[in-house]
Amino acid sequence: MLQEWVILLVSFCYLGILFAIAYYGDKRADAGRSIISNPYIYTLSIAVYCTAWTFYGSVGRAATTGAGFLPIYLGPTLMAALWWFVLRKIIRIAKTHRITSIADFISSRYAKDPLIGGIVTIIAVVGILPYISLQLKAVSVSFNVLHTFQAPAPLVPAADSIWSDTALYVTLAMSVFAILFGTRHIDASERHEGMVAAVAFESVVKLVAFLVVGIFVSYYLFSGPAELIHDAVISPELSKLMNIEALSGGYVNWFTLTFLSMMAILFLPRQFHILVVENVNEEHVKKASWLFPLYLLAINLFVLPISLAGLLLFPDGSVDPDIFVLAVPLYNNQELVALFVYLGGLSAATGMVIVATIALSTMVCNDLVMPVLLRLRSLQRSDLSSVLLTIRRGSILVILLLGYGFFRLIGESYALVTLGLVSFAAAAQFAPVILIGIYWKGASRRGAITGLLAGFAMWSYTLLVPSFVKSGWIATSILESGPFGIELLGPYHLFGLAMFDPLTHSVFWSMLANIGCLVCVSLFDRQNAMERLQAAHFVDVFRHEDIDTGLWSGTATVAELKDLVARFIGSEQTDKAFSEYATEHDFDVKNKAQADANLVGFAERRLAGAIGSASARVMISSVVKGEEISIEGLMKILDETSQVIEYSHRLEGKSRELEEATAELRAANKRLTELDRLKDEFVSTVTHELRTPLTSVRAFSEILRDNPSLALEERHKFLDIIVKESERLTRLINQVLDLAKIESGSAEWSQDCVDLNEVIEEASRSLSQLFHESSIMLEKELPARTVLVMADRDRLVQVAINLLSNAVKFCEPGTGQVTVRLSTPRGKVRVEVADNGPGIHPDEQKRIFEKFHQLKGIRDEKPRGSGLGLTICHRIINYHGGSIWVESRPGAGAKFIFELAPAERSSTDGQAS
């Protein structure tokens, strides 16, 4: 048996470790190196969802309802699928508006109405009391069990006197702990990095503790979970737990539990605090969406084996199933395991109590006490930061004592889980105003108030009142025959609805009243401008990101604003905040006396972090002189801004199109100019080319006409020249016409199967005279077989003639040598015409196929040829899908090469087109 002092020592050591972690976390946060800024710590901190309820209550519930403990964890798993867009939207809104609690969130959404904040706070406090009392009960019971349990003696009931009640001391210890943790100083952003780190650590401890006891029970006491389950199935009593029928209320209750836990995971004040307020980075939500369900899965794996083991070991019902987790190891004298389990349970309970009380105390302070305090004239000008801290510390103590009171009052008569479900049903009342509020702009302030009140009233009447009845405060007759004997108003079967279990009954009526009032009142309500403004900010948070939320157009001095903020969050933090603002917005805080609207808005949000948005508004308006911008005006600005944004988007699109069109036009214009220039050039070159022979024809004709006495020999010579020049003229004109035809695409092409051997032979035949005259050698290297291509035969002959005559032109008469070679490399047909002339300069090689580009002879500077021959060759070869190029080095001759695709076998049969 464990001594009391051992347990106490271990407990306080453990709490000491937690405090050290929190202290370290805060230090790191102050140094700017956060230890909680990663999705894993975020996930673990969300696991504050698993409280003592999970730790002790799940096993208890499994022992009585079978699978009935699971919906509490399946709900959050399902909800986590929606986190990525629902939770992220809430986080974005909360960060934009510096929201620090769920009450603040709801009141901000509905026109920053302090009344709504107050209502939400009251619902939250009243609704969470059963939950807190559950934790107190769990810790005190587990403490008592640990030091009084003697196998196989039954459990000693809790002491009767308050002063000997362990729960009271647990309450006080927890209060001190929560106060130390949560309210060391007022932080404008209301974030507690150290606390989050400690909660994450606790989540690890409780998971490990539960897995340890699960493995211990399954594998040490029994030989594996399968064996354990097999033993249980044999017992007719236990085998009932294997199906849903063990759950009273059956599938409907199952659905209700799933729904409630789906809502609870987001809207329990402590979950909201951890998920939204303590969130460091929206991106963390992504990993948490599947890691957190995984955590839930792991912590539930051994619930069934442990509860079955408990039922097998204590078949007579002498031990409360809620303490099976402790009782089973103790029964087997495994005190160390039991002590570890106790620590796990303590982790679960303290984690919940700390986060819940901090969240609630913020709400009580900002939304209940501050609005009242700020109305007191005497407090208007004093330093309030210490007052704020005192209020928060006081409210933590009060909340925990209320929880203790609830526990004393009715805690004994309820199982752990049942207490928790009452709280879940209360938290679900926040779901409609938030979920509908962030997606429907029409939800109005009055709608929210009536919805919340109606839902809360229904919840109180159908769940809270019966719990008072059970504790003996109210006569039990009200349950059976209704108040004043009116049976229709019985809290468990309101208006005669008797088909549901009490929980489903309550959830049904309260949700119906809540949603019904919210929607109907909103539909018949006229929203004022402030409501519409806040609604727009919330619903369109992703669209209006850059639009400032400031409302102020009046004037305030910087000094006044700073004083005001300093009164709530302390002068040191204020200085820091203002200088940060100054560097970020390039605003000279020190030298400028008047604050602009932006700075006023900034101060308001800072204040909102400390005292809630509603109070912050009141405080700022006491400092700012002059008029606020009328909210109608602001709405208009908002609308106009959206319109302007849309117009500018459209404008951007248009101007982009315009730019594209302009670029196209510019390109087209450039091409046209280029073509025009080419045409001019062409015309001038052609005329020039035509004039040269024409001039000589005319000159010689005039000589002949004017000198009839010319010698016959002379006369012949001149006539020869005239004929030659005319021929040249004809050739030139033919070539120009040819080229024009080819370029305009109106030339007629025939497609025949042509043997290139023949083509080359024909060309060299027609040029043989020329070769002979210039005494230039022509060497032909032709293959023995036919080389067929599909082409226009005459044109190919023309190409060959052009290339050969070109070669002749550039060869030295006498020593000149021209080689024409036909080969078929790699599926191509290649014709090479090489000469041993002066060669072509590399610069010229590129331009040699251009129109009228004439090579300057290397020795004499006189151009030879028309300048169209190669251009025509180029066009012809191109037309046939081949390629033509020149290879040459100055002084080493030039080699013109063209390649064509060989004719395919099938088409060699000679079908001409």
């Binding site: 929606l82 990525w84 097999h230 995984l294």
Partner: protein
């Protein structure tokens, strides 16, 4: 960008709907039997399997897109 994001949201909603259907009456009643499968009661085996698959699907949808379409920028204050 909104296209990818919308598709992702649609998938998540469908996963949720499938999950809610699979974990409620009447599908659930098909498994509410006193029988063992792999040493575990059929009901528990089914629930934990659906649970695991559900988590896997959510993880797949969320982690497949490498980063958020609009990376969060902390709101200016």
């Amino acid at each position: 960008m909104p296209e990818i994001k919308r598709r992702q949201n649609e998938r998540l909603v469908v996963i949720l709907i499938v999950g809610v259907i699979a974990l409620n009456y009447p599908i659930l009643s098909l498994f509410s039997k006193v029988r063992l499968i792999f040493g575990a009661p059929v009901l528990y085996f089914y629930l934990f399997t659906v649970w695991t698959v559900f988590i896997g699907c959510v993880a797949l949808v969320l982690e497949k897109t490498t980063s958020s379409p609009f990376v969060s920028s902390p709101p200016k204050t």
